[in-house]
Structure formats: C-alpha cells, structure tokens
C-alpha cells in the first residue's frame, strides 16, 4: 500500500493559521505514506496534476487530500484519481479548513495540532478503504402518472412525445381536473377549458399514452426500475369506444342527482357525460344513482342506444403493471368553508365559494343561469389560508389573483355592479399579475384592506351583511351584499393524502407532498424514482403547475433514458457467514430494503444507505459500504491516539446532510468553538452502534456527540428513533462501568443552527472538564461490557 498525502494552503485560508509544513512533516511519519506534498491550491489544475503524476510515477494506490470540506471538493478529487486510473473511492479528504483553520483561527497552535489529527484520521480511513464498484440498475421506459389534471396531462404528453410509455390513471370519469372547471385563467383571461381541451384530446389520441379513467391505484410495491402497481378500473357500463355521446340515454334516464362538475348546483342524470369536453368523450353510468343494475330495474338507456354501447354486465377490472418511475400529480381540494362556520357557508343562501362562482360564470356564458348573483358582490380572501385557527399557516398563492379575475369578469359583464375584495395582503407576484391587479382597479373593483370576523344574513332581503375594519382608515365599515364569495384556499387532495401514504412519501407541515430538496430537487420526492408535480406538492397556479409537470417529466426521462441508473454506492451489505437470519434488521430498516431468505438480503435499489440496520444486528453481520464499522472505528482510533492525561477529546459523529454541512457553515462563518471536537462524517448517526460508542470511550474519548438531521428535512425516515435507542444502550453500558451517562449526547439539527451547534460543542467540552478523565480501571471495565439486546 502506497499513500500520497497532499496538504493544501488554500492560498492562505489554511496556511495563515495552520502550520501546513508541520502537518506535512507529521503525515510523512504515518504508516504506508510514500509521498507528501504541500501545495498552494490543491483544487487547481496544477494541484490535481500533481496527484495524477505522483500516482503514475510512484505507483500510489491511495490518496489523502488535507484541504477543505469533502462536500465542497470531494467530487473534484474523485475525478482526478479516476483520471489516473484509480477507483474513485481511493481518495479521502481531511477537512482542515472548515474544521480547523477557520473555526480555530485565533488559536493557531491548537489548529495545527487538530489538523494533524484530522489528517491522521483520513490516513487511517483510507488504509481500510477498498475499491467500490458502481451500483447500477437496469431501467425500462414505463412511467405511471397518477392524476389526470393539467399537471398529469402535461407530464404524460412530454414523456409520451419523448418516446416513453405512459400509464395515466385518473379516478374521475374524465381527465382535466380543476382546470376544466374554471371560467378563465388569470392574468390573460383565456377561456380555461378552450385552452385545455386540445391537450386533453392529445392525451386520448397519443399512441404512447394508456389512459385509464374512472380508475384508482390500489397498491404500489417495489422500487425504482421495478415498481409493481395494481390498478382498479371501475365499471362505467358504457363502452368508451362505441359511445358516440349522442346523449339519447341521458334524455330518457329518469334519475336526477346533483352534478359534481357544477359542485352540486345543477342536476345530472344517472347516465351522463361528465362534462361537455370530457375525455374520453363517452357517457358513464353512475351505479350508485341508477335505479338498479343487478337485477336490471329500468333499462331505458339501453333501449335508445343506437351504438349498442351500454353493457349492464360490466365488472370492475384489476390491472397489474410494472413501471420504472412514477409521477404523482394528485392535485388539491378546495378548503371546506364549513370549517369557518362564522361565514355561514351553506347556511346563508347568498354565500358561495369561489369555485362555485367559476361554474356560475361558465354556465352564464353558455346561457344557463344557475342562480341569480345580483349587483353587489363581495369577495373574502384567505378563507382557510393563512389562518392558525384552522391549522393552515400557508398562503394558497392563487386566491388573490382568481378573486381579482372573477371580480374583473363580473365588473366587465355589468359595469354598474359594485364588486369589493376584502383582503389582508394582496399578493400579485407572478408575471403580469401586478398589471392585472391594476387593470381590475381601473375597472373599478374596490379593494378593501380588512378581514371580516363574521357574516350575517338580513332575515328579510337575505342579503349578506359584511362588517369589516378598513384597516387603512381605522374605521369599521358595514355593507349589505347580494352575494358573498369566499376565496377558499387549497388543501392537499384526498387522493394526494392517500397516494402519499401508499408510496411512503413524506409530507411537509402544510400537508402537501415534500420535495427531496426545496431548492435543488423541487420535483423529486425523497423516494428514488418518484416525482411530484402540481398542487400535490403545494398550492400553485397553472403556469407553475405546467412548468413543474414538464420538470418532473424531464427528471423521470433523465433516469430512464440511459437504460441504466447509477445509484449512490453507499449501501448496506451482509457478511453471510455471520448472519443467522434472525430478521431483526428487517424491522430496523426504515425503507423495507431487507428481506430474509436464509440470510438477510439487501435490495440495493431500495437501500438508502443510512445504516440504521447495523446496530440491530446482534452478530455484527450487517455493515455499510464506504462507512463500514472498520473504516469509522479507524478514524475514531486515530482521533484519540497519543492523548495526554488531562487533555480532552470529544468525538462528534455528524450526518452528512445536516450536521456535517452545518459544521462547515459554522467554520465558513469563522464562528469559534473548541478545538477538542473531532468530527467524523457518516451518512446518518444512526449507523453509529452502541458498541462503537463504548469502544471510543475505551480508547480515551471524553465525550461523544451524535448530530442528525431533523426529521422534517432528513433523507431517511425515523433515524432519530434508532439513535435514541442506540444512545440508551450505550449509556446503560457506561453506567454499568461507573461512567457518567451524559457523556453521550445527541441532537437533531438543520443546516442553519449555527448558535446551537457552537453551544452544544462547547457544552460537551465543559462537561468533560467537569467530570475529568475517565480512570483507566473504569475504561477496562467498559471493555468487558457487552450490548444487551432488548426483546
């Protein structure tokens, strides 16, 4: 084994504080080290060149770069060693900038000592490292799109046009979603269904799209590249291909029920066309409303159907599919205004919600007056949004603009109308929105800044009394309106909630599906191969929905197009000779990646590499690539080597996503914390077993700290629970050896908790100083302790 060690000056960033020559000299005395250099900028072309040349000239097989954070330049050096013909895993970085030169900038001697130890830790780590093979997965070209609103339609068309095979599942009898119900779109006032229906028709005709309406996803198993999906196709009792939508069946049907498409404001028949632009353009028989099918009670529709499209013997069908990726476009529901009883929705005749207003306007344009709307109309904003009292803290983003649109349309239709919008903050953030707001003001729509507490009904005229503080004049104003429209917010759709649970997709605090990263992976979910688009992810308008749908389609394509998919090589693996197939790891795995067939087997396609399984194994038979017990313990040993009596060293395990990034952030901000803290990077602190903690104390650690992502941002579900359990077991062992239990601490972090990080790091040291060194004898006793597995 020949190791090359490269110490970076970082143009003074490191060398102004850390004596890099001393670090280099120290490194040259470490085992297996063949070449040591200190170089001004390691990441520069010439720095990388030096590594490549040395590998070729001196036959180096492993490289350590003592420089900055591996999160910052890790990929650079992986590529460099790969260029020289080494496996990319054959380089390790010691983070002497963010973890030493910067946070300890006012104590250069300690910073230099710490830099030496960090370098030694990296050397010991690389000595244990083995080449790691790429983990790839075969990918087909099949996509399941759940939800046939505008998001699902757009994603399906993009994918189908690119040659992918799309299964589009919609639970209603027609695609189109909410957009098909709207009057016009803001800010351009295009007719909503007119611009949507050509797209709907494209879906129906596209050879690469298998459209399944009136269908529901029942079950999804498997993982990226191999999702097994079970779909229920409900009976329509009308053959889509034969039906000519002549409407004769509807004319003779004797049963009337409220029409969902018009939110129950009009009636439809038991056999009906879901909407005038329905796709597939076919009637459907509502079996719950029909007088009776089995046995047949009426049968009038079949008698008049010339196309012979009606089949009373239609049955539910179950369809099984295998797909490679999934796009969730399950959309939203409008906020149920009943939850704000003080506004009297459905109690006062003249209080409606905004979606009902949309339908009234559409029907009016077609010459049907669903209900009178009168002259004086008020809109009340933020109903069910931005309201702690109903638990929805978020802004629904579209209500300001749809109210502005509806108000403008009403005013245009009849300029003698008085239209008021009662708002708290008017948000016109999108392209053309502010101008549109201005246009509405020019039309004479009155915007009053104030939120009414309650509405009252005039018992005689049935007009609605709105009483509000005009917060700009600080006066209470009161006015009677013919109609009050509640601008209801958006909530996660019932389907969104159901599908999220089925696919194990985490949801954010607002209840919508959580994206893998709010900035850089906005349409990915934390589950590999599943994407989200449209209002399932959060309230948004049509342009944003379409953009997101196209983005999700592109992300799905980028996974499938190569035909294979390269995964992170950090995966759990099993020592088959040690495994007795007890199955404890199966329960410990938060993503169901393990199954037992004689011995435990890891499904690498599902494994996310958190390492939560490791501590569950009583026989040490399960481990993690790149962050194995051996590799991590080698770093612990190096961190505690040559510790002098009275000297304090704290080991901090930092999860890569939050705590390690946070520590880098603290360093970059040059915030000071003690130089006795040695950070070891792990995918998740749940991979640190109780045994490892105890061994660290045996070797001389004065304290152990485990940092982990807060559950809400963590890429792994439920790891905090595992950490809690591991810490409990390790503390038990400490207690049995007579060592203070609280020498082990853990905390969740997000990447911005700078003050908390510094405070906790310093608290660990103060505690270690208070308790003093752990006596030799207690450490020996600890060495004899074994982990006790509960249950």
């Amino acid at each position: 084994m020949k190791i090359g060690v490269y110490v970076c000056h970082c143009g003074g960033n490191i060398s102004d504080v850390v004596d890099v020559e001393k670090v280099a000299e120290f490194a040259s005395r470490q085992p297996d080290v063949a070449v040591v250099r200190s170089i001004s900028h390691m990441c520069s072309e010439s720095g990388q060149r030096a590594i490549i040349d040395d590998i070729q000239q001196y036959n180096l097989d492993k490289i350590v770069v003592s420089a900055c954070s591996p999160q910052f330049q890790g990929e650079t050096f992986k590529k460099a060693v790969a260029k020289a013909g080494l496996n990319p895993n054959m380089v390790v970085m010691a983070n002497i900038r963010e973890q030493s030169a910067w946070p300890h900038h006012d104590e250069p001697e300690n910073a230099t000592e710490k830099a030496k130890i960090l370098t030694a830790m990296a050397i010991e780590d690389i000595r244990k490292k083995e080449p790691v093979e790429k983990v790839t997965l075969k990918m087909g070209k099949n996509v399941l799109v759940i939800g046939g609103g505008i998001a699902g339609i757009q994603a399906s068309l993009d994918l189908a046009n690119a040659g992918f095979n799309v299964y589009l599942v919609e639970k209603k009898p027609t695609i189109g979603g909410h957009m098909a119900q709207l009057s016009r779109t803001f800010p351009t006032e295009d007719c909503s269904s007119c611009i949507l229906s050509p797209k709907m028709a494209d879906v129906a005709e596209h050879p690469n799209i298998h459209l399944m309406t009136y269908s529901e996803v029942l079950e999804v198993n498997g993982s990226i590249g191999n999702f097994n999906v079970r779909i229920l196709k409900k009976p329509k009792y009308v053959d889509e291909d034969k039906c000519t939508a002549c409407n004769k069946c509807t004319e003779v049907c004797p049963v009337s029920v409220p029409d969902e498409f018009n939110l129950g404001m009009t009636m439809r028949k038991a056999i009906y066309l879901p909407s005038s632009t329905a796709v597939p353009h076919s009637h459907v028989l509502d079996e719950d409303a029909c007088l009776g099918l089995k046995p047949l009670a009426c049968g009038l529709c079949s008698q008049v159907c010339e196309a012979d499209a009606i089949n009373y013997d239609d049955m539910p069908q179950y369809i099984n599919l295998k797909v490679d990726t999934i796009i969730v476009a399950t959309g939203f529901d409008i906020f149920d205004a009943h939850l704000k009883p003080q506004y009297g929705y459905r109690k006062y005749r003249n209080v409606i919600n905004a979606l009902e207003m949309e339908r009234i306007i559409v029907e009016m344009a077609e010459g049907h007056v669903i209900r009178p709307i009168g002259k004086d109309i008020a809109f009340i904003q933020c109903v069910g949004s931005r309201d702690a009292q109903v638990g929805n803290l978020y802004c629904s983003r579209i209500c300001c603009m749809y109210a502005t649109k509806l108000a403008s349309l009403l005013k245009r239709m009849d300029p003698s109308r008085e239209v008021y919008v009662f708002y708290t903050d008017l948000r016109a953030f999108g392209k053309g929105f502010e101008e549109y707001y201005r246009t509405a003001q020019e039309l004479g729509v009155k915007f009053i800044r104030g939120r009414p507490g309650e509405l009252a009904e005039d018992p005689e005229s049935k007009k609605v009394v709105v009483r509000v503080e005009d917060t700009l004049t600080r006066k209470i104003i009161e006015k009677k309106f013919d109609l009050v429209v509640l601008s209801v917010g958006l909530v996660p759709g019932e389907g969104t909630v159901k599908i999220a649970e089925m696919l194990k997709l985490p949801r954010s605090a607002d209840g919508f599906i959580k994206e893998a990263h709010p900035k850089f992976r906005p349409v990915d979910t934390p589950v590999e191969g599943i994407f989200v688009a449209g209002c399932a992810q959060g309230p948004k308008d049509i342009p944003d929905t379409v953009a997101q749908a196209s983005a999700a389609a592109a992300r799905a394509m980028s996974l499938m197009n190569k035909g294979e998919y390269e995964m992170s090589p950090i995966k759990a693996f099993v020592h088959e000779d040690l495994c007795d197939g007890c199955g404890l790891c199966v329960e410990a795995c938060p993503v169901d990646a393990i199954k037992v067939a004689g011995v435990a087997e890891i499904n690498v396609a599902v494994c996310k590499g958190c390492g939560a399984c490791i501590s569950s194994c009583p026989r040490n038979a399960i481990d993690l690539r790149i962050f194995s017990n051996e590799e991590v313990m080698a770093q612990v040993d190096a961190a505690l080597r040559d510790k002098k009596p009275g000297e304090k060293r704290i080991i901090m395990f930092a999860d890569d996503m939050c705590t390690y990034t946070l520590a880098d952030g603290v360093g970059t901000a040059k915030l000071k914390y003690n130089s006795n803290t040695y950070i070891i990077r792990v995918p998740s602190s749940s991979r640190v077993t109780p045994e490892m903690m105890v061994r660290a104390f045996e070797k001389g650690a004065d304290g152990i700290f485990l940092g982990e992502c807060e559950a809400a941002v963590s890429p792994y579900p439920d790891t905090l629970k595992v950490i809690e359990e591991n810490v409990k077991k390790a503390r038990e062992m400490l207690a049995r050896a007579g060592i203070e239990e609280d020498r082990i601490q853990y905390s969740p972090f997000v990447t911005v908790m700078f003050k908390k990080f510094v405070a906790l790091a310093n608290k660990m040291l103060r505690m270690a100083e208070k308790y003093g060194d752990i006596p030799e004898e207690k450490r020996r006793r600890l060495g004899m302790e074994k982990v006790i597995y509960h249950e």
Binding site: A388, T424, G450, E469
Partner: protein, 133 residues
C-alpha cells in the same frame, strides 16, 4: 396636519414590556382587522382592537392610556378568531396592567357612590384589584 412619531428607545421598551407582560409575540400581528369586526365593543372604543395591536407594535404610549383597554369585555372572541393565533385578551390585560402601574387613580374606590352604577364592571374590578394584589 399629519403627526410624525419619532421612534426611540421608549417605543422599543414599551413594545418589549407589552410582550413580556402578555407573553404574546405582538410582532406576529398582520393587521387584518378580524379582531375589530369580531369585537362586540369595538364601536365604543377610541382605538380599535387591531389599532391597539398596531400601537403596541410601534410602542406608542397612547395605547396604555386608551379607553379601549377598559372597554374590552375580555370575551376572547378576538383570541379565538386571530389568524395568527395571538391571544389579544392577554395583550389587553398587559396594557391594563401597565396603565395601573402608573399609579394614576381614575377611580377613587373609597368614594364611589352614584358613579358605581355607571362604571363598567371591569373598571371596578380592576380598581379594586389594585389594592388587593
């Protein structure tokens, strides 16, 4: 003529004091006015409930001397309706407390006679509490 409020240390201190006594984060108020229209006494107030919150946010001493804080019936309707979850009743109570701490006697409890019938009950309770707490 419009009035200019020069914001100084005094304003900051008063805001902080109100937050300390009420335990409520008054900067959370977004001035939607739902409290005002929910308030059964708002018509009789010199400063509306939302106004009270605004004056408190900028730390204007006049809120402490307002009549509104004594007209407040402590019915809590504002509290249950506030979309930001602020307990306005606690804020009003804090303001009454600040007013009482000034040690100005608006009502001499020892000489209450025919006034007793006209005074709002809350005023009498508060005046008496000053001597008992």
């Amino acid at each position: 003529m419009s009035e200019v409020i020069y914001m100084g240390e005094k304003n900051k201190k008063l805001s902080e004091k109100i937050e300390e006594l009420s335990g409520e984060k008054i900067t959370l108020c977004e001035q939607c006015g739902i409290c005002t229209t929910s308030c059964p006494m708002a018509d009789d107030m010199d400063i509306t409930p939302a106004g009270i919150m605004r004056y408190s946010q900028i730390g204007d001493e006049r809120v402490v001397d307002s009549e509104a804080i004594w007209i407040c019936a402590s019915c809590f309707t504002c509290t249950v309706r506030c979309p930001r979850g602020i307990d306005l009743a606690k804020v009003a109570e804090a303001l009454r407390e600040l007013n009482l701490r000034k040690n100005v006697d608006h009502i001499d409890v020892n000489h209450l006679d025919e006034e007793l019938n006209e005074l709002p009950a809350i005023a009498v309770v508060s005046a008496l509490r000053k001597f008992t707490s």
